[in-house]
């Protein structure tokens, strides 16, 4: 079990957070959806696992490469 970071792949804003701290997600699941260029862009937890921390709120601006969540898998 190791902690890993999930980063925003693109500058945009947080549209919807679809999980919460404590929940378990499967590899490849989306943990939140960003909005950028008018597209709904899922932020994927590649390795799945248990969500430890969501570091942003809905409506927040994020930059490309910014850490938006930490999971343990």
């Amino acid at each position: 079990m190791a902690l890993y970071e999930v980063k925003a792949e693109m500058t945009g804003s947080v549209w919807k957070i679809v999980t919460a701290a404590g929940e378990t997600v499967a590899p490849g699941d989306a943990i939140m959806i960003l909005e950028s260029m008018k597209m709904e862009i899922p932020v994927i937890a590649e390795d799945g696992g248990t969500v430890q921390e969501i570091l942003v709120e809905e409506g927040a601006s994020v930059s490309e490469g910014q850490v938006v969540a930490r999971l343990e898998a």
Partner: protein
Amino acid sequence: MSDTRPARPRSLEVALERYEQQRSAALAMGGAEKLARRKAAGVLNARERVDYICDQGTFIESGLLGTSASNPADRHRTPTDGKIVGFGKIDGREVAIGANDFTVMGASSSATNGRKLGHLKRVATQRGLPMVFLGESSGARMPDHMGARGMATLLGNDPTQYQRLRETPWVSATLGMSFGSSSWYAVLSDFNVMRKGSVLAVSSALLASMAVKEQVDPEELGGWRLHSEITGFADLVVDTDEQALDAVRKFLSYMPRHHREAPPVRPVPVGSGADMKNVLDVLPASRTQVYDVRKILRAIVDSDSLFELKPRFGKVAVTALARIDGKTVGLIANNPLFKGGALDTDACEKITSFLVLCDSFNIPIVMFVDTPGFVIGTDAERKRAPGKIMNWMNALQLVTVPKISIILRKTYGQAYLNMGGGRNSDEVAAWPTAEISFMDPQFGVRVVHGKQPGDAEYDGLRAEMDRDSEVWDAAAVYAVQSVIRPEQTRDYLVRTLEVHGMRMSNGVGQHLLRAWPTSY
């Protein structure tokens, strides 16, 4: 019956004995101990690699008895001078192949092995042979290269050494520590596959720590993640030598032997195109939602023929070799799964370099378009977006192989041109779901009418702009030549590629991009 042949003169016997001794010494490579260590580590040696990749019995070696010419003390311990070169067949086609023997002074570069590589390249270029480089090397041999005499005699004496005019495909495998020459050929190549655990860099971590006082981890300096995700110098990453050599063979199977012929034609596997009836299911219900365009590509091309290059670099762009109706095609697609399909600077570079590859080797290009435009903002500008967007346009407009563009959903702004819109392709087709405009209608209502969601007139103006973006107006003025149903796409491409075959030049383009840089 007694032997009535005249006895061989003693000097001939001695000479033949000496020859066999020399051969054995050369074939022993770096010695049993070093070879055993490699075997224990699960890594092939240079001769095993050549044996694995060449059709059995076809390898003819050049320069077996070469040794160090610089340093008499090294003569006895530099069999083949550390690089095994020669010619062999891969899938029945002749190639020129150079395999670095790391067990011999780290396959370091020196005079004799430099001459061998030079000869290999000259023959390959003049006789139309693909070049295969199986790379791992500690770089320039020391102390041979030190000092003015070392440098003057060993380096800079071949004025065409690093010229890349794409007469024949160059394919590289990075199979260990690769510094100096081995790295140069990797980045000059059309395809480089990297085995995990290998390091590709200018110089070793040791030298870096001495020169710039940086304590470097070799993986950070030149490991597989860096090269597959950040630099793009690894087109593919594998776990074993065998997988790397299989990938070299696979890449070559899409290529012609040289640039004056069309790529080879293969049989069409049974069941190709069977998934076309389901292709519309890949698209999500909403135009703002994403999907993986590779599912569509896999349905369209001949079964199992999709070979993606640089899958982990510039992921918004998919660049893949494939076959349609048995013939090699180069596919470029926007992948909405990443960044909603918005094109970043890595995608620009990846696509530009793929255009150069396809055009240089007579491979027709098919573009699949679904992009909300280029990524804009300060980060993009710092990455020199305008320059990269224009490099891409320049390359696209220099292409002389057939270009076909199929608009799946959105195509906005400058990206409409970069993805082959208008006269930047030979044929433009579109699905009924295609939308063409300068920007997303939601931005457009604000920019043109000054209205935002929530304002009274917004909905009506938005509906008008949405209607204006539909593909029909482009088809009406022949900017889109064909509107096709999604499930007709494979058939459309089979016929259109057939129509656009370069009959008058035997399938060969004009190669205006042949001198384009290999990295940028």
